[in-house]
Amino acid sequence: MIELADVSLRYGGLLALTNTEMMVAEGEFVAVVGPSGCGKSTLMKLVTGLLAPTTGEIRVEGRRVQGPVRGAGMAFQNATLLPWRSTLDNVMLPLEIVEPFKRTMRRDRKHLEARVQKLLEAVGLGEFAASFPWQLSGGMQQRTNLCRSIIHEPKLLMLDEPFAALDAFTKEDLWQVLQELWLKQRFTAILVTHDLREAAFLADTVHVMSQRPGRIVHRCPIAIARPRTLATTFDPAYTEIVNELRARIAQLRSQ
């Protein structure tokens, strides 16, 4: 589904990424972790075509990426909801832009609204469809943000530290919400995070990036059965993976 071959990126005079190799299979959930400032977010911009690599090649679904990848879903740490739109209308936004929904929008808005409502209910926001962003808590805003990023059923979902600003309890709630959505829709997901527990909980494979100039230095498959629950986080196998990742990153930082 996604293939990075010998990708480098130079920002002005700064080498941000070098010789990055990465493969993501269709429907795989991948997490990218690494010390801060290693170019994780840059990697995301490269895959979605928002940035062009200096050298190397990026392929999504076999096609070389040139310019923004159309129809992918994205969510950031900052929920960026539109304050003049209700929760429902915020989630409607992609449907107003992406085909074939855009075409049906004029004739059959009700149908699409019902679809959004259903998704909101699935993430526990059913009663808040008419609320405005400032009436929602941080966790609820981030749920809305997640809904907005997958309402158009993208094949590819990019998440850039979506839960970084949330408290520990809300975070763990949202891990499960995200996992449920993924189990239902089976999109290909790339999650950029600095939270190793989060990466190990959500991903099929964790990729570890080195200090700048960033590059993937380690791949760690997570062989824990799904659906994973909060109990999983007390599982010795899980703890072991997290500790191993932590050791790897500590080692990278000291280099």
Binding site: T48, L50, P68, R70, G73, P83, V98, F132, M158
Partner: protein, 250 residues
């Protein structure tokens, strides 16, 4: 209740103080007429006040309307295109630095006296804040939002319509409130320099005849009209960009 009445009470108190001081210190009415005399003058000269007031209102609103159209278009152009921004913005800033009063004689030279120079002055003086604010508003869209939309495949027009323009509405209305007041200044200034009608003309004519009470009556009329239009802009703002006042309205 009391909270809403406060500004009114203060205004009445100020006028009362004015009246009292005029009487107490027997200020001659060609220096500073008391409010009661201004009121009398207002009643006595209601017809010229009405005619000239409507003229000023007319030139102001026409100039203001042109300023909204041109100001928004320029603001969108400057806010959307870095090329246009770099080329046009220094020019606009330079133009804004020119004292508009100094332009009036030139406009008179080109268009004669009367309605046209007043409209043009009102426009010229009030479009700049609109342009700057619209451009700022468009630039205030979060870069993450831009990324989300680009990856969804949104066209530039869609980004503008669905995100940038609604986002810049509070900025636009903030500018309109400033601009409407400026437009009045522009009209009146132009009328004092070159016109045979309008509030500015009336004030000039009255002061040359030492009818100081009438000058003040005209002044208060302009202030009142300006306040009403300001309130209208504020009302529009609440209706169209109420989301920017969250928590205050409800």
């Amino acid at each position: 209740m009391l909270r809403q009445a406060r500004p009114w009470l203060l205004t009445i108190a100020l006028f009362a103080l004015w009246e009292l001081s005029c009487r107490l210190f027997s200020v001659p009415d060609f220096v500073l007429p008391a409010p009661s005399e201004i009121l009398q003058a207002g009643v006595r000269f209601w017809e010229p006040l009405l005619v000239n007031g409507l003229q000023t209102l007319y030139t102001t609103i026409v100039g203001f309307a042109i300023a909204i159209v041109i100001g928004v278009l320029l603001g969108v152009a400057v806010g959307c295109s870095p090329v246009i921004y770099e080329a046009l913005y220094p020019l606009l800033v330079g133009f804004n630095a020119v004292p508009k009063v100094a332009l009036v004689p030139i406009v008179v030279l080109w268009c004669g006296i009367g309605t046209v120079p007043a409209v043009i002055t009102a426009f010229v003086i009030s479009f700049f804040p609109i342009t700057v604010n619209v451009a700022t508003g468009l630039a205030s869209v979060e870069p993450e939002m831009h990324d989300v939309l680009r990856v969804l495949g949104a066209t530039r027009l869609e980004v503008l319509r669905k995100v940038s323009i609604p986002r810049s509405l509070p900025y636009l209305f903030a500018a309109l409130k400033v601009a409407i007041t400026l437009a009045f200044i522009g009209s009146v200034v132009s009328e004092t320099v070159a016109a045979n009608q309008g509030i500015g003309f009336l004030m000039l004519a009255a002061s040359s005849r030492f009818q100081v009470a009438l000058v003040f009556a005209a002044l208060l009329l302009v202030a009142a009209m300006s306040i009403v239009l300001y309130a209208f802009c504020a009302l529009l703002e609440r209706r169209m960009a109420g989301w920017a006042f969250r928590g205050q309205a409800s």
